[in-house]
């Protein structure tokens, strides 16, 4: 038994089982997220295939980085990354998109996951190094936590990152530690992403300033409880990731119990309690994101528990 106690042991077991099933479900269904022939850098509907590919790659890259899942799941993650990289034509699509739209940051935000796992596209890398040197690229008017996504991707791909992280953090909703009861669904996602990027998905828990650690330690259990009650599974999994990004995670078993109970026999984890029935023809489209965050949550939790 680990130093974290019996509750953490339960979390370890449940996270491994739930995360493995989510990852396997992604693997069995990933071909549904395939570009139509002839996809170009313009991507008229970037949310249809491009964004899911990026998020699939995020989960797979963290499984590889954390190396906390057994070898079989790491192989699965490797296959998903190969698939996604192939879909992006070995990074060419990202390169072409960045050339075509210099003001867009999503090529960087997608490439970072592959870079994390060891994939490289030299011409894109050169382009990104140049863009990172531009004040303009850092200051495009994204919402504050998206700016942190750009800054974190910049530092992960190895470019000079002049970001004033405390100022960036202070500009977010979380940064000003607001009244916790005013939290709503969308704001909750802003909070989770602020923590993800500030800590580079749990790689740097101590990047979280002490006042934010205290704030999150106090209120995360409440937010998780409230959204678990109304079965917002996608958000619950994101909040579990936030806990795992903290210097001292709480490793509360209840959220994992509820996520595990919501998971279907085939591994699908519905995004919420209202959807995900067997007759759902949009199962992958609607629920892939929840599989992604459940996989990430499991990877981080297993890693932090010292699996």
């Amino acid at each position: 038994m680990s130093a974290h106690g019996p509750a953490a042991e339960e979390v370890r077991t449940t996270a491994l089982r739930t995360g493995t099933r989510a990852l396997d479900w992604l693997h069995r269904n990933h071909v549904q997220g395939t570009f139509a022939d002839g996809a170009t850098a313009e991507l008229a509907e970037p949310d249809s295939v491009y964004k899911p590919l990026a998020e699939l790659s995020l989960a797979a890259s963290l499984v590889m980085r954390d190396a906390a899942f057994p070898a079989a799941q790491r192989d699965t993650a490797g296959e998903l990354l190969d698939f996604a990289w192939d879909q992006l034509r070995g990074g060419d699509l990202l390169y072409e998109r960045q050339l075509r739209f210099p003001a867009m940051t999503d090529p960087l935000e997608t490439y970072v996951h592959f870079h994390r796992a060891g994939y490289r596209h030299e011409r894109l890398q050169e382009l990104l190094a140049h863009l990172a040197s531009l004040t303009s690229y850092r200051e495009y008017e994204h919402v504050p936590n998206r700016r942190m996504a750009v800054a974190n991707a910049t530092r992960v791909v190895g470019d000079a990152d002049p970001t004033d992280w405390p100022a960036r953090t202070a500009a977010t909703w979380l940064g000003s530690t607001p009244e916790p009861w005013t939290m709503d669904w969308m704001t909750a996602y802003h909070v989770t992403h602020t923590v993800f990027h500030l800590t580079d998905w749990g790689a740097q828990p101590h990047a979280l300033p002490p006042h934010l650690r205290d704030y999150l330690a106090t209120w995360l259990p409440v937010w998780t409880d409230v959204w678990a009650e109304i079965e917002e599974w996608d958000l619950v999994a994101e909040l579990v990731i936030v806990d795992a990004c903290m210097p001292q995670p709480a490793f509360e078993p209840d959220a994992w119990r509820r996520l595990a109970a919501a998971q279907h026999d085939d591994g699908l984890l519905p995004r919420d309690g209202r959807t995900g029935g067997d007759g759902d023809s949009r199962r992958f489209e609607d629920h892939y994101h929840t599989a992604v965050v459940a996989t990430v949550a499991a990877s981080l939790v297993l890693s932090r528990l010292g699996a």
Partner: protein
């Protein structure tokens, strides 16, 4: 009369009584007006409301350090006799009745000075209050009042749920284990209040904020900004008079902390 009709009658009686207490709390009448239906001693619905409101009837007297009007003392006494403590009562009901009995035992002379961190027993050292407690127990025919189980292992949700039911005990000049626990567990209660606010369960939020106001008045530091929450509840809260009373008592507790008018 059907159970539903009886329930509606009872709910109305509680609301009516809460409204009178609220009026006395906000009013300037000296001496304090009686708030209970003293002219209807045989009305069991009204007496049930008196029993359930219990310690809340003392709020105006405690804040103003005045004696509880004799008609209210008589009605409370009757309510406790008509609805005596029973062995199957919940922890919350036992402590509510116990507090009512102890406050009655303070006599017509009015409030005691606050002793917020006195020993584990409520009103320890107050002989008359002990006698009243014994009498309350005697009315029920049980030997002493059973203590609630040690609650150090409660989750923040369980603690908040229990304390919300015990909110009538959050009063100035009243001390005991639950008042002390409110001070010790402000984080748990702050979480509970936040949860209730997010679920738009404003009555529960108001009860928990009442405890937080008490804790703040006794030197504890809630994790929430209590005046801001009170303001929010005032604007968004449920229209029930009893909730309005909880909020008014919370505001008075905070005002006392800040040295303002009580």
């Amino acid at each position: 009369m059907s159970n539903a009709a009886l329930g509606a009658d009872y709910a109305q009686a509680v609301e009516r009584l809460a409204g009178r207490v609220l009026g006395a709390l906000r009013g300037t009448q000296v001496p304090l007006p009686a708030v209970s239906d003293a002219d209807r001693p045989a009305d069991t619905t009204a007496l049930a409301a008196v029993r359930v409101m219990g310690p809340d009837l003392f709020a105006p007297a405690l804040f103003r350090r005045q004696p509880l009007p004799q008609p209210d003392r008589d009605t409370l006494d009757t309510a406790l006799r008509v609805f005596p403590p029973r062995p199957g009562d919940s922890v919350e009901a036992r402590w509510r009745d116990r507090t009512t009995a102890a406050l009655l035992a303070r006599g017509a002379s009015g409030a005691h000075p606050a002793s917020p961190y006195a020993g584990g027993e409520p009103y320890a050292g107050e002989d008359s209050e002990r006698a009243a407690l014994a009498e309350a127990a005697g009315i029920a025919g049980i030997a002493g009042i059973v203590e609630d189980a040690e609650d150090t292992e409660l989750t923040w949700q369980e603690r908040s749920q229990r304390m919300a039911r015990l909110a009538p005990l959050a009063l100035p000049e009243v001390d005991g284990p639950y008042q002390q626990r409110a001070c010790l567990h402000v984080r748990a209660l702050s979480r509970g209040a936040t949860r209730s606010l997010m679920r738009r369960d404003h009555p529960t939020a108001a009860r928990l904020v009442r405890w937080l106001a008490l804790a703040q008045s006794r030197g504890a530091s809630p994790a929430l900004d209590v005046p801001t929450v009170l303001d929010h509840l005032r604007l968004w809260g449920a229209p029930s008079t009893r909730t309005a009373l909880d909020l008014a008592i919370a505001r008075r507790l905070l005002a006392a902390t800040e040295g303002g008018p009580r």
